[in-house]
């Protein structure tokens, strides 16, 4: 492998980055020696300016290593918004829903933007279904965390249940039929065992019945 190939591979995120959430996603660009190359790992005090006004917070010694976040709002904690965002997929490639991604991967720039989009649509007075429809129209069916139960998608929901029910019903029917036969045979053998023993034709019937059960 050449230097060029190695650097390109590393810049693309490489295997290890792609092996993880947050790794190898579009927009994250985990470069080989990315982010402030040459930055020293110097000892740092907890705060650089201990006399900042109350409420505003003091500047961090090295803010570049901490993600920038806005102040959490009531919209961020709205149960209806959370529920809605759990039904929509983040487009960063993480496979997570918007809510989980924006509260998990703080390097993702997609989920906060999608969250703002959800808030805006709700702000316009759209219902939950309206928001889902708007997202589907804009991003396609893939934006939904679970396909709509319509058309071919119904097969996705129904096939496992139908197959398992059919298999279970068949199994139950076979077992019931077999247990009834055995019950009938045992009743017959209790009632007429002596007669059967004396009658070769009866013995032949019993042999055939037993063979039938065995099959």
């Amino acid at each position: 492998m050449t230097r060029r190939e190695w650097l390109r591979l590393a810049a693309l995120g490489g295997t290890a980055t792609a092996a993880l959430p947050g790794g190898g996603r579009r927009g994250h660009g985990a470069a080989l020696f990315g982010q402030g190359t040459g930055q020293p790992a110097a000892p740092a005090p907890a705060r650089a300016s201990p006399s900042a006004p109350p409420g505003a917070g003091d500047k961090l010694y090295d803010p570049s290593v901490v993600q920038e976040r806005g102040v959490a709002t009531s919209g961020d904690n709205d149960p209806a918004i959370k529920e809605l965002e759990r039904r929509l997929k983040c487009t960063c490639g993480c496979n997570l829903d918007i809510y989980t991604c924006r509260t998990t991967d703080f390097t993702c720039t997609y989920s906060p933007a999608l969250h703002r989009e959800v808030l805006a649509l709700r702000g316009e007075g759209k219902s939950a279904d309206g928001v889902l429809a708007a997202f589907t129209a804009k991003y396609g069916e893939q934006i939904l965390m679970a396909p709509r139960p319509a058309g071919f998608n119904l097969a996705g929901y129904l096939v496992p249940g139908v197959l398992i029910t059919l298999a279970g019903a068949t199994l139950a029917a076979v077992l019931v039929r077999r247990s009834r036969r055995i019950a009938a045979l045992s009743a017959a053998s209790e009632g007429g065992s002596s007669a059967l023993a004396a009658d070769p034709a009866g013995q032949e019937r019993l042999r055939r019945a037993l063979a039938d059960v065995e099959d």
Partner: protein
């Protein structure tokens, strides 16, 4: 080192191909010398792969960054434990790990299998050698861990920060061990089919292997859940990701096998089904590997897309075709020796249990593959995520829990109504009691109530079994209750170990149900500011932001945000969440900043704090705080399940003592030495 490593790979390949060739030829031509050579080749393959593995470890530990794999996954300042773990962190190293461990298992199978099954061993060596050869071919022609760079970087890229977690040093190997060890039962099944020795001998030969494999998978899956929970920061441990699903699939089919094999041992039934389950488990383990490594399905866990996927797909198709063709050709030899007689029998309960397990496996596989199917049929890309899997699988899971309680209560062959009444009374009462209490507490989540009520029912079943067994011993032998319980378990390890496993499973189920009540809140706090949250158990937590500290540590620069926690007004100490910027040995940043979750666990709930970031570069911090009920019980459940598995497979016991002439036949382990031919009718 790389030359030696590469040479050893070639050596292993030739030895494996030779072993496979002479194994089948030797048995076919009835030549013991060739069969012996096949068995011995397993040792040669293992030795060559061990040397190759040592070569890679030597490269990793000596920081030979001219080796592409070493440069890709390690750095000079990476702690040694993670340097060692980097062996399986990447695609290429993990393939070598897989092949090496499989060759060790192959040798262990040859060395540890009873001489009674000697006739199967050449075929076992042949099949394991074929699988090893496949992995070595994949490495040699597509993903060699010994590939060199045309230059030497001054430092490596380092291990992804999220892999720098103690869980990652043990979770992947455990999962791999589970996947890999399935090959041995599969090899025995193929050996039995090839040699036409289809009595229960091969089942006995693989009993411990299947349990071992199932235990490794259980450990691996749970460790993966734990790693996801403590490392990824989303407050959960299972997200129905395709790679997670892929690990669950063989676990489900192995669980089904562990139940249905009892029917074969007891009654000589379900022979075809059991072979099918072993074949399916093996194929699903390869399928899981294919998903992880091919990139065919989007997953957060998968390795990068590579040509390795084609190798796995080809192998999967060939292995499936060969195995099912062989099974079909031996179909008449797998006639059952008895028939199911009644719906009200343990055999029927086990069958329905198998149906549920395989049904869940099918629905998980169906959901995992449905996006591909949908795109092929409709031309539309869709996503199948947790809402789909929960909707389809939770009812099936509840059915399975119910069957877990029902199975042990029903007699073999046929249970009478009186017997059923006597057996079901206590467990059903326990389940109803739990449901009543939960409804009285105004818990309205129907799935959670059903899960806990069914867990009560299963606990009632298991408790009743232990109680009756111990009481019987107490009455018969005058043993004190605890001694009676201990002896009951030690003399019937398989049965009571299985019950302990059931207790572990319901502990998991109860913990999973708790997630329905988790509470999450995002807050932004300046130092000294507080927020209050009410937990599902009614406690009030007050979190006060103490500030953000920044300091260098090992191979990273840490920004730690701290909260003081008060529970119902009483101080509970501090909880800290970190942002970590990893740096190489030259102080340069590597990777994006990662997050370390702050967790405080107790039996009721976890406080789960994530430092999301800061406002305008100040120590005003935004947190995601989650109160997660019952999470600790997931890990406790895993401990119970593993303990039960170990009890079940622990060597020694009455069976061995009996063989050595100590103890009587009456003390034989339940279900292990039951007569098999014409089983059931004479019992």
């Amino acid at each position: 080192m790389t030359l030696l490593g590469q040479f050893c790979l070639w050596l292993a390949l030739f030895a494996a191909l030779w072993g496979a060739g002479v194994a089948f030829l030797g048995r076919w031509q009835d030549r013991p010398d060739l069969a012996r050579s096949a068995t011995q080749s397993s040792y040669g393959v293992c030795a060559a792969l061990l040397v190759a593995a040592l070569c890679l470890w030597k490269g990793l530990l000596s920081h030979d960054f001219n080796i592409e794999y070493v440069a890709q996954y390690t750095a000079r300042n990476l702690p040694t434990s993670y340097v060692l773990a980097a062996f399986w962190a990447g695609q290429k190293g993990s393939l070598l790990f897989w092949a090496t461990i499989l060759s060790i298992f192959g040798v262990a199978a040859q060395a540890m299998t009873s001489r009674r099954h000697e006739g199967l061993l050449p075929y076992v060596a042949g099949v394991t050698n074929v699988v090893v050869a496949f992995f070595v071919i994949t490495m040699i022609f597509s993903a060699s861990p010994f590939e060199r760079l045309s230059f030497t970087p001054e430092d490596g890229r380092g291990l992804n920060p999220q892999l720098q977690n103690p869980g990652m040093t043990i979770h992947p190997p455990m999962l791999y061990l589970g996947y890999i060890s399935i090959t041995i039962p599969f090899a025995f099944a193929m050996a039995a089919l090839l040699s036409r020795r289809l009595d229960t001998g091969w089942i006995h030969a693989i009993r411990k292997w299947t349990l071992l494999s199932w235990l490794f998978l259980s450990c691996g899956i749970t460790l993966g859940m734990w790693w996801a929970y403590v490392e990824l920061g989303w407050g959960g441990y299972w997200s129905w990701d395709p790679v997670e699903n892929a690990s669950l699939l063989p676990w489900l089919t192995m669980s089904a096998f562990l139940h249905s094999v009892m029917i074969q041992e007891k009654r000589g039934m379900l022979k075809r089904w059991n072979v099918g389950l072993i074949v399916a488990s093996f194929l699903l383990s390869i399928f899981g590997t294919f998903i992880t490594r091919s990139g065919v399905i989007a997953s957060v866990h998968s390795f990068t897309q590579s040509s390795v996927g084609y190798f796995f797909l080809g192998f999967l198709v060939l292995a499936a075709a060969a195995a099912f063709a062989l099974l079909y050709s031996r179909w008449p030899l797998l006639e059952p020796e008895a028939r199911l007689e009644s719906m009200a029998s343990r055999e029927a309960a086990f069958l329905f249990n198998n149906l549920a397990l395989v049904g869940i496996a099918f629905s998980v596989l169906w959901g995992t593959l449905f996006p591909i199917l949908s795109e092929a049929v409709q031309g539309t890309k869709i996503t199948v995520g947790p809402p789909f899997f929960n909707r389809v699988n939770i009812p099936l899971g509840l059915l399975l829990v119910a069957l877990t309680g029902i199975g042990p209560l029903i007699a073999w062959r046929k249970a009478s109504p009186a017997n059923l009444r006597r057996q079901f009374l206590v467990p059903a009462a326990a389940g109803l009691l739990v449901a009543t209490v939960l409804l009285a507490l105004r818990i309205r989540d129907s799935y959670a109530v059903a899960a806990w009520a069914l867990a009560g029912f299963v606990a009632g079943t298991v408790g009743q079994e232990f109680w009756r067994g111990a009481r019987a011993r107490h009455r018969m032998h005058g043993e004190p209750p605890l001694l009676a319980l201990g002896r009951l378990i030690s003399r019937n390890r398989r049965r009571y170990g299985g019950y302990i496993v059931h207790l572990g499973v319901i502990t998991y189920v109860c913990a999973f149900a708790g997630m329905a009540f988790k509470v999450t809140r995002e807050v932004t706090l300046a130092p000294g500011e507080s927020v209050e949250m009410r937990s599902p158990f009614g406690h009030t937590y007050r979190f006060t932001h103490l500030g953000v500290s920044q300091y260098p540590e090992l191979n990273r620069f840490v920004s730690a945000a701290s909260l003081e926690v008060r529970k119902d007004g009483v101080s509970r100490g501090r909880i800290k969440s970190e942002k970590r910027q990893h740096r190489d040995s030259f102080g340069r940043n590597t990777f994006e900043p990662s997050t370390e979750v702050g967790i405080r666990s107790d039996l009721r709930e976890d406080l789960y704090v994530v430092y999301a970031g800061s406002v305008e570069g100040t120590d005003r911090a935004t947190y995601a705080i989650t109160l997660n009920p019952l999470v600790l019980w997931v890990w406790i459940g895993a401990g119970i399940l593993i303990a039960g598995g170990l009890v079940t497979m622990w060597p020694g016991g009455p069976l061995i003592r009996e063989r050595r002439g100590v103890g009587g036949a009456s003390e034989a382990q339940a279900g292990y030495e039951a007569p098999l031919v014409g089983a059931g009718l004479g019992e």
